[in-house]
């Protein structure tokens, strides 16, 4: 299936792009993040991130479907 990944802040810098489409059979965002770590060398562990699927917060073990958009959100620092 094809998944769109979106990256922000330090993850965007590390990936060198704000988003990418990836063919992946990862069943969950947790598995997808492991693939992204292997690809981009992210150093933030998943435990420090929040996950969003299709524009809303989601559990890291949510089942993924073809066409989903997944974002891995580093600890926030607004305000």
């Amino acid at each position: 299936m094809i998944i769109t990944l979106r990256y922000f802040a330090s993850l965007r810098d590390a990936a060198g792009c704000a988003d990418e489409r990836m063919a992946s059979e990862a069943p969950t965002p947790r598995a997808l993040y492991a693939q992204a770590v292997a690809r981009h060398g992210f150093t933030l562990p998943l435990e420090r991130l929040r996950v969003a699927v299709n524009g809303d917060f989601a559990d890291a073990d949510t089942p993924l479907r073809d066409g989903d958009e997944v974002a891995f959100l580093p600890p926030v620092s607004g305000g």
């Binding site: 922000f8 974002a71 926030v76 620092s77 607004g78 305000g79």
Partner: protein
């Protein structure tokens, strides 16, 4: 109401939007860009947002403030993009009949926004370095 702004936050206009004969108390919080962070000299910063989710989560927070506190109006605007020292990074305005609810709701909104809304600060320092803040 929660909004993101790519340009200077028009605080006088936002303040005028809070005028109402039912209001006895107005509490406004401005978060501004300061020139130092943990001993380093900050020369400027940028905010990046996951805009769709930031708007959704920010709107949830202002709705929660309405449910939890006896207030009339609540609004929050957060800057994105490049900011200079002294600029307003975030603005929260709350009106209520009485001050206790207005203070409490304003505090609630800024604390929750800082903790939950997907916005990230990138600081630039006088020594030429720059760093994302991921507390």
């Amino acid at each position: 109401m929660f909004a993101l702004s790519e340009s200077t936050i028009d605080t006088p206009r936002l303040g005028r939007g809070l005028e109402s004969p039912r209001t006895g108390a107005v509490v406004i919080f401005e978060g501004r860009v300061r020139d130092h962070h943990q001993g380093r000299v900050v020369v400027g910063l940028a905010y990046e947002a996951y805009a769709e989710l930031a708007l959704a989560e920010g709107s949830r927070i202002t709705a929660e403030a309405r449910e939890r506190f006896d207030i009339e109006q609540v609004a929050c605007v957060h800057r994105v993009g490049q900011l200079a020292i002294g600029e307003v990074a975030v603005w929260v305005g709350v009106t209520a009949a009485h001050r206790d609810a207005a203070f409490a709701a304003c505090r609630y909104v800024i604390d929750e926004v800082k903790a939950r809304v997907p916005i990230w600060k990138h600081e630039r320092y006088a020594d030429g370095n720059a760093q994302w803040q991921h507390p």
